[in-house]
Symmetry: C2
Subunit: 127 residues, 2 copies
DNA sequence: CTGTATCCCGGCGGATACTG
DNA sequence: CAGTATCCGCCGGGATACAG
């Protein structure tokens, strides 16, 4: 066996279904998760209809699904105030705030490198 | 206007379709992108069939789509050696390697906090 | 105001078979 | 070996209407 044939990839690199690579690190949450995080990062509790405004008037069904998923995962708290009319407020938990670090890191990458990606795509189309 | 009503969310927070938040920072690439990055991070050129092994024998169609998308975005280089039988090798570009930082950051988050998420989900089911 | 209830569409991801 | 060619099922995301 010669030197240059050695070192195949380990077949079990991603065997563990819970390993952090398979956790699809670049696919945390749904389409709207990151934007909801941004809406809540200042710590101020926000209401359902308040969130819809910057989120392009996302439909209620989709916003509900997004918020429920984040609540279920422990990223935010849903507080119902028993009033009339009803008032519900959403706030990030400590776990939810812990996502802001990775989010910033990836946003910083995007700001720095998205132009290169755009260039690469143009070049690829061209030839 | 009282103090406690102030500071609504800016309606145009995510207006720019290319803004780094809307870039879905937690949704970079497809299901297999991160794993391909891991397979190539050691700098060693890898062949098509070589990649399939750790990737759970991903179907050729899906692997091709993943690799083509990454090539198109400038993340990797596809080199065809004119031989018989054919040999094709994939290598990360500098741009592709620049993704490893954010990837590590998010993987570190996952290792540190996924147990909390699991707990939160269990608690949500239970109550 | 804060959501449900329906219906719907596109597209990612996959299974299988075939080719240069 | 390194892919194409088809076909297909699922589900995320959305539009619209309605309810407590």
């Amino acid at each position: 066996m010669t030197e240059r044939e050695a070192r195949p990839l380990r077949p079990d690199m991603f065997r563990d279904p819970d390993c952090s690579d398979r956790a699809q690190p670049f696919r945390v949450g749904g389409k709207w998760t990151a934007m909801v995080l941004r809406c809540l990062e200042d710590g101020r509790p926000r209401r359902f209809s308040e969130l819809r405004v910057p989120l392009h008037w996302i439909t209620p069904k989709v916003l509900t699904e997004t918020l429920r998923a984040m609540e279920r995962d422990g990223f935010l708290l849903r507080v119902v105030h028993e009033e009339n009319p009803p008032r519900v407020e959403y706030t990030l938990t400590a776990l939810g705030r812990s996502l802001l670090g990775p989010l910033d890191t990836t946003c910083a990458w995007a700001r720095a490198h998205v132009p290169e990606v755009t260039e690469a795509r143009a070049a690829y189309e061209g030839g």
